[in-house]
């Protein structure tokens, strides 16, 4: 709570929180498209590739202005993306290998440059190595203004071309047939992703920045089936994780910011994977258990129906032991029989003998009918999936 109060009074903490919220929201928003277009790893390649760009920008200008360093980072990230495309198109190297190649080549080159810079007899060089794992505490107002400006432009562009980017992500070829300049839209959206990445590099670091691109949308996808809501949730998750991680690392300890933010965003992801309705694991487990129990009850009822069908009277009683034998994998059927009796589908005749009631007969016949129809339909659906 103390930290929370300081947020409004302490200038440094406020700056840090604002910066982290900005980068979390922007990367969450643009990351949504990256995740939906299966380009999560492109984000990783871009962020790693940005390191030599930052180093070269410093070497060439001698400046540590955020805009200068971000420009260097963006150009290097862009170059890496272009090279990935070129390698994929012109050689037999596949997309994932090309990504891995560019990531490691650029990152390695960046590390060499960084070491070289640190050996320079120049006091100004200090601090560039924080770009590796990020340092939120070093954020000053100038940085945050730059981040907010660039991020704002990126979000605005995303809003303006909302339907075009949606079309690009869902069905690019159809979009092309409508006459949209799909290649330019692709270039535009990738540029926005590059912007989202470079504004976070100083705070989160090149090594872990891709987590801010991938994790918030992955968590948001668990909660919603609508693109608009997914973007908003992803922005909220990104900002939350960014702010809490940055404050934890800047406020109390000297933890590196990137890893702390990643830990925070992981909590959001794990929580979403477990708890979200429909897609969440706990929800699914409960649903499966419920439907499993229902199916087992139905199986016992249908067994009884099948047994009775061999007699003149449909309410001919049968022994529990027979039903046990018919369902060896299910364990004793007594509890299921009792549950069926509670529902009025069967009635006990003598100890361990059960007979169908008229309601039970009707229910069994209804089940048989619906299964015929339902399964036929489902089969066809599945055929379609195969192609």
């Amino acid at each position: 709570m103390d930290l929370f109060q300081q947020l409004f009074t302490d200038y440094t903490l406020r700056t840090v929180a604002l910066g982290a919220a900005t980068l979390g929201a922007v990367s969450g928003a643009l990351g949504t498209y990256a995740v939906l277009r299966r380009q999560s790893l492109l984000g990783d390649a871009i962020s790693h590739a940005a390191l030599p760009g930052i180093a070269l920008a410093f070497l060439l200008t001698g400046s540590k202005l955020p805009l200068v360093l971000m420009l260097g980072a963006a150009l290097a990230g862009w170059l890496a993306t272009l090279l990935v495309m070129a390698v994929t198109n012109m050689t037999r190297v596949k997309y994932d290998s090309a990504l891995g190649l560019m990531l490691s080549v650029f990152f390695g080159f960046g590390l060499v440059l960084l070491t070289f810079i640190q050996k320079l007899p120049n006091a100004n060089q200090a601090g560039l190595d924080t770009f590796l794992f990020g340092q939120a505490a070093a954020l000053v107002q100038r940085d945050v203004v730059t981040m907010a400006g660039l991020g704002g432009v990126a979000l605005l562009a995303m809003g303006c071309f909302w339907k075009e980017f949606k079309l690009l992500s869902f069905d690019a070829e159809f979009g092309k047939s409508l006459g949209f300049p799909i290649r330019w839209l692709d270039v535009g959206l990738t540029t926005l992703l590059v912007i989202a990445i470079v504004i976070g590099l100083q705070t989160v670091g090149v090594v872990l920045m891709s987590a801010m691109i991938i994790a918030p949308p992955a968590a948001a996808r668990q909660w919603t089936d609508r693109l608009g809501l997914m973007v908003i949730l992803s922005m909220v998750f990104g900002a939350l994780a960014g702010v809490s991680g940055a404050l934890l690392s800047a406020g109390t300890t000297n933890l590196p910011t990137g890893p702390t933010i990643v830990l925070c965003v992981s909590i959001v992801v794990i929580g979403s994977m477990l708890l979200a309705p429909n897609r969440g694991l706990i929800w699914r487990w409960l649903r499966d258990r419920r439907s499993g129990r229902r199916l087992r009850l139905e199986a016992v009822l249908l067994d009884l129906y099948a047994l009775a069908a061999q007699h003149d009277h449909r309410d001919h009683p049968h022994a529990e032991a027979v039903l046990d034998a018919m369902n060896p994998h299910m364990g004793p059927t007594r509890r299921k029989l009792q549950a069926l009796a509670e529902r009025g589908f069967i009635r006990p005749v003598e100890p361990a003998q059960w007979a169908l009631t008229p309601g039970g007969i009707a229910e069994a016949e209804r089940l048989l009918r619906s299964r015929d129809g339902g399964e036929g339909e489902r089969e066809k659906g599945r055929e379609g999936e195969d192609r």
Binding site: K163, K166, F170, E173, G179, D225, G381, G384
Partner: protein
């Protein structure tokens, strides 16, 4: 009769391997035409080449006597169902409205009128009850009908459909056939990549037999002959047409 689609000398190659070789094709206006041929014959590539979605090595395409680029607004497209991610977070109505994006123009969002048009198209394919469903909940046949509705809102004069009958249930197959006939009734031209040789005479007016080259094209009665099919498929045609053909004496000798 007016010519709806005129393709001349169309050639597509991947590296130095020809996929389509010197294709000429005239499709008269107001007909349903099937494109048939074995796997790898270039059926999908032909449609994509006409629509400018793959790079062509040579050739030109005219739609109603003008280059395709100028006639885009008169062309509708139904891609293969499997070409998109059906787990994308969007609703059925949203997907259908995408057919209108070209007409809406930049910087504008679909509004009430677009929603009404999309709902109307969904009604025509019997999917209006699904308008607000998430698309991942659809069966294969329902996905196909959503794609058809998306093409319907394009209100085109010429339609290209890539395997709309692939793996769909009987309900959807009937719905598609009814739709194709309705389109023809309104004077539209539809080109359909088709797999099932047996239904060609029943469903279509014209047919194009394709295997990298154009083997034949024209009215089904003239072109859909055993000789042409043999040229297109090689000996395998004996299996394909066996049930349908009543005088199967000559076919029995094939292969």
């Amino acid at each position: 009769m007016e010519t709806a689609i005129e393709v001349s000398d169309l050639t597509v190659a991947y590296r130095d391997h020809p996929v389509l070789w010197d294709i000429d094709l005239d499709v008269p206006s107001g007909v349903l035409m099937a494109i048939v041929g074995p796997n790898g014959a270039g059926k999908t590539t032909l449609i994509k080449a006409i629509l400018g979605l793959v790079k062509t090595a040579a050739g030109q395409v005219l739609i109603f006597d003008k280059p395709y680029e100028k006639q885009r607004h008169r062309v509708g497209y139904v891609p293969q169902r499997g070409s998109v991610d059906w787990d994308f977070p969007t609703s059925v109505l949203d997907v259908v409205m995408m057919g209108l994006y070209g007409k809406i123009g930049w910087l504008r969002r679909p509004g009430r009128r677009e929603r009404a048009q999309a709902l109307d198209a969904l009604k025509k394919v019997g999917m209006d009850a699904f308008a607000n469903r998430q698309i991942s909940q659809l069966s294969g046949g329902q996905q196909q009908r959503v794609f058809l509705a998306r093409a319907l809102v394009q209100d085109a004069d010429v339609y290209f459909m890539d395997e709309p009958f692939q793996g769909v249930d009987a309900t959807t197959e009937r719905a598609i056939i009814a739709l194709l006939r309705e389109l023809r009734g309104r004077g539209k031209t539809v080109l359909v990549v088709h797999h099932d040789l047996q239904t060609v005479p029943e469903y279509f007016d014209e047919v194009m037999l394709l295997n990298v080259r154009r083997i034949a094209s024209g009215p089904v009665a003239d072109v859909f002959t055993d000789d042409n099919l043999r040229l297109t498929y090689g000996g395998r045609v004996a299996f394909l047409k066996a049930q349908q053909s009543k005088d199967d004496v000559p076919l029995a000798k094939v292969g």
